[in-house]
């Protein structure tokens, strides 16, 4: 069983599934959805089996597959997982089926065929798995760039009114980052050729190179800029609110829940072990960006009138915490940061999904168009609250464990930054509860008072970035109904996972910690982290 190429299967199954779905006749929309759901469930099963096959106490990279790919460049089609990659693959496995189910009617009645939407979704899943399990730098780079394409089309073809602008912005930002990184990837190859006599892209070999610190500083920047765009750190973040707001809800979940994590994953997988001296050199600078991002994005979230933009800004704030944890260089903070990546995927995923369900009912993204929803739709309000509480890292939710680990692990090394970051927990409570109060509490308001929601709302459609999304007719209902059975099936697993990981996070920590320790060892930091 251990010889089975689990990782290759997790890339191949959704990729083939995407081709099958794309090849279905246009009118077989339901079949396309069913195939997509089936394929994504198979991937989930594979992810679970992979985790069972993984030995937390074993060697760092396991379940490896390696096929010579471009021998002239010393590049292999090499796959393997450590604990960090494994939990991300698990996250993908969990989120995609839920996104498929949540997006069941997303593309119905639109100008483009339904099958196209689900084919892109599956292809995106294949690329996302690939980017986390690649252990060859060039292969990673290829997945990193290829991952953009399905997301570009999901936003550009199935997004909100300003989807074109958002999609292009997303693509151009990512592409610029990718090109800068390509330069550094080539640089690393050249350096390896110089040291070893023969160039290589193999991750394991590259981490053992002793690169000159000055060269490190240069090469670090290429990777860092690409990852800082992806995970967005302030000030490279402005593409995310547009993409998050305009993307279809399922796309937004995967964008913020998984795709952006490639940035923080890149920090810890590539920046730290490849460029240890440069990482230490730039750490204060990165930490400034991280802490500024935490506070700045949280304040901005408070000022948003569009729910999806608000959630996007909260994510930028959360990415600041992850970056803080990674660049504090301690086991506790690093483990917390990786755990944060998982928990944030679940929490923000749920938040985006619930916000999407609300928007599907009211036909508007504006907070001001809602009020008193809790009385009409208590289940929706309850799911909204759980997602919000997870977002503000309330104990009992998984997010608390990771945020706590990041902060308590960073404090001994970086007390000032940590104190400032901790202030973010007040702001998080503000942006979550303000949105919750305005939409769920109070007397019925906005869309709830509309006799016929087809009528334009008073004050809706205000120009600029807060333009009201006009949704296709079938998604509008005459009143705000509570969650249906399909929606409960989407929300319930996430709520359960958030609570379980809030009470018993240790199994995930046990998976993640060895990889974090190995990373810190690679960069020569004390693996204990704290010195006292």
């Amino acid at each position: 069983m251990s010889d089975f190429p689990w990782l290759l299967a997790m890339i191949a199954v959704p990729a083939i599934g995407a081709a099958v779905v794309a090849a279905l006749p246009r009118e077989r929309a339901l079949l396309a959805k069913q195939v997509a759901l089936g394929v994504s469930l198979v991937v989930l099963l594979l992810a679970v089996l992979t985790t069972l096959a993984f030995d937390a106490g074993g060697p760092r990279f396991q379940l490896t597959t390696s096929v010579p790919w471009i021998p002239d460049f010393g590049s292999d089609f090499a796959l393997g997982v450590d604990g960090i990659a494994l939990v991300m693959v698990l996250l993908i496995g969990v989120l995609v089926p839920l996104v498929v189910a949540a997006s069941w009617h997303e593309a119905d009645g639109g100008p483009r065929p339904v099958r196209v939407f689900f084919a892109w979704l599956l292809l995106l899943e294949a690329m996302m798995v690939g980017v986390f399990v690649a252990t060859d730098l060039l292969l990673f780079y290829v997945f990193f760039e290829a991952m953009l394409v399905p997301m570009y089309f999901l936003i550009g073809s199935f997004g909100g009114p300003r989807r074109q602008y958002a999609a292009v912005k997303f693509f151009v930002y990512s592409l610029v980052g990718g090109l800068v990184m390509l330069a550094s990837v080539i640089g690393v190859y050249v350096v390896s050729a110089g040291v070893l006599g023969e160039g290589t892209f193999a991750f394991d070999t590259l981490t053992r190179l002793d690169i000159d610190p000055d060269v490190q500083r240069l090469l670090f920047l290429g990777f860092f800029i690409a990852f800082a765009i992806k995970a967005p750190l302030v000030p490279l973040h402005t593409w995310l609110p547009d993409s998050g707001a305009e993307a279809p809800v399922g796309g937004a979940v995967l964008l913020v829940g998984v795709l952006d994590k490639v940035g923080t994953f890149g920090f810890i997988r590539y920046c730290l072990p490849l460029f240890p001296d440069a990482s230490r050199f730039y750490a204060p600078f990165v930490l400034v960006l991280a802490v500024v991002g935490i506070l700045y994005a949280a304040l901005l979230a408070m000022g948003q009138s569009d729910m999806k933009r608000l959630v996007s800004y909260t994510s930028i704030s959360h990415f600041g915490f992850i970056a803080l944890g990674i660049f504090a260089f301690t086991t506790e903070a690093g483990t917390g940061a990786v755990l944060y990546m998982v928990n944030h995927g679940l929490a923000t995923g749920l938040l985006f999904l619930v916000v999407g369900m609300l928007i599907a009912r009211g036909g508007s993204r504006r907070i001001a168009d809602y009020g008193g929803v809790a009385a009409k739709a208590p289940l929706l309000a309850g799911a909204f609250l759980v997602a919000g509480l997870a977002s503000l890292a309330l104990p009992g939710t998984g997010s608390f464990v990771s945020e706590f680990l990041v902060l308590i692990g960073s404090f001994p090394e970086r007390p000032v930054f940590t104190v400032l970051a901790t202030l973010g927990i007040i702001l998080a409570a503000l942006y979550v509860l303000l949105m919750y109060q305005r939409t769920m509490h109070g007397p019925a308001r906005g869309v709830l008072l509309q006799e016929d929601p087809a009528e334009p709302l008073p004050g809706a459609g205000g120009g600029g970035a807060t333009a009201t999304a006009t949704l296709p007719a079938p998604q509008r209902s005459l009143r705000v109904a509570d969650l249906g059975r399909r929606e409960i099936a989407v929300v319930a697993p996430l709520v359960a996972l958030i609570l379980v990981l809030g009470v018993y996070p240790q199994p995930l920590i046990d998976l993640i910690e060895p990889a974090v320790v190995a990373t810190l060892d690679d960069m020569g930091a004390a693996s204990g982290g704290t010195d006292r």
């Binding site: 292009v168 000022g303 927990i425 509860l433 920590i509």
Partner: protein, 635 residues
Amino acid sequence: MSETLPADGLLGWSWLLIALPLAGAAVLLLGGRRTDRWGHLLGAATVATAFVLAVLCTVQLAGQDGAPADVELFTFIATGELDVTAGLLFDPLSAVFALLITGVGSLIHVYSIGYMAHDPGRRRFFAYLNLFVAAMLLLVLGNSFVALYVGWEGVGLASYLLIAFWYTRPGAATAAKKAFIMNRVGDVGLALAIFIMFAQLGTTSYAGVFGTVGTLAGGTITAIGLLLLLGACGKSGQFPLQAWLPDAMEGPTPVSALIHAATMVTAGVYLIARSAPIYDLTPTARAVVLAVGALTLLIGAIAGCAYDDIKKVLAYSTVSQIGYMFLAVGLGPAGYVAGLAHLLAHGFFKAGLFLGAGSVMHAMRDSVDMRRFGALWNKLPITFATFGLGYLALIGFPFLSGYFTKDAIIEAALDRDDVWGWVLGGVAVLGAGLTAFYMTRLMLMTFFGRARWEEGVHPHEAPPVMTAPMVVLAVGSVASGALLVSVFPLSGWLEPVFGEPAEAEHVVAPAVIGLVVTLVMLLGVLAAWLFVGRREVPVAAPVRVSPVTRAARNALYADAVNESLFMRPGQWLTRALVWVDNRGVDGAVNGLAAGLGGSSSRLGRAQTGFVRTYALGMLGGAVVVAGALLAVTSG
């Protein structure tokens, strides 16, 4: 401190104390409407069972002479140097709180069966109330600062949910949010204190921290003490974080009784008493605790004199009484027991007073305006009698509970035998006079004088399911003081925690203090009779009043200060940043792109086609190249 014993017997099952109400909450929330008919009974039953269990556990604890029992449950978070075990500590201090929480909690659950009988959301109410009891028990039973923090924020959530219980009222929704945010400000302090403990001592468990805290530098200990105090101030509604507590009265009255009077708001006192080994080492932090307590005691008492809303008066009274408790625990070893005794007695009489207020509101069609009450003493005889006993206990009428516990605090303050002892004692005595004034005013306006009822109000006594808990609490209000001070002394019970009580040389004889405090109290009562009882109470509050009254009516402008210092600048900052982000940061980056590659409008429109083609081309190319290379190399 006594040796910790492994928990055997019933103590090994003490986690059920938390699990029972938590399971109740889960069943009620997940069960939905199916549980509507019996949900409230389940809610009350879980808490009552927890009370029985708490009593049995305490009996076992007494049997082992108060030697604390440590209950290890599972590894919560362990990575690197951090090792947090989910575990409970059942010692005399947590036992006292567990009894208070489950005991008063049971009574209030029973009362709520009647109080919420006609509310469509009754099941949800009991679910939240159960959730609160579970979180509060975790707070007091956890064996580490992390466990305490989890419970700490858990009760914050329950409090939020219950204040906003009637969420369609904007006032309730806003008050709930305010409470949560102000608590979070305090939570930052608590969190930072935990970070320092871990950074300096490598542990967050009580045993670990208290065992090694003495090795730290004095400044570090003081910092920990002050940060813990910030947390305590948030939860307990103490200066400068007191403004949320009166607003929290938007919640249903049983909530005010249980959470915002008897238990949750006293968590700050618990935190400081629990952290006694830390505070014992830092006189500076203790001095700040004293100052906070004394100041809040006066702020609460002054504001309590001016409000016409019966629940707000009781809320400010709570703020003020917790000030007494802070003052007591700030005194250090001399005051811990006194503060905790007052906490317990206060739990009885204040919960009773709130339930009584609920009964009055029940009779007055949910009005809280005392100017529209009056002459209720013979309409609501049981409420009047129980409320009256609570009133006498609170103002410190001789030989009722408040008399013993408040005097003990004043004694302890004076026993410092320095200038500050006299100042603090004086403040406490002055507070006693003010307490007598505002509570007498409340009694006179509510139960005596002319009936000023709104039209169509026909007062009627509450059903037995509501009056029975009131009677029990009234008995507690009368007897608890004497019991805790002399019959079953709390100081002896808590000896394993705080050590042997020092036989202090009294600076002023207790009898003299008792006499002076009683006289000041009578002066307060007299003043209230002169100002309120003797005259006709106008139905509308007088507008032309002295600046002092106006300040008191605005609770000494705490909200105004918060608003002008934090809220409005915050909103301004947020708006400015949104503008900057949209125009500035985004504009700069877009502008840069435009400068490099043409006009920014082209970025938005004309290049769309290009990007699409490029994207597809890239994908196609990548697939072809990857496929070809794979085929070539493996073939």
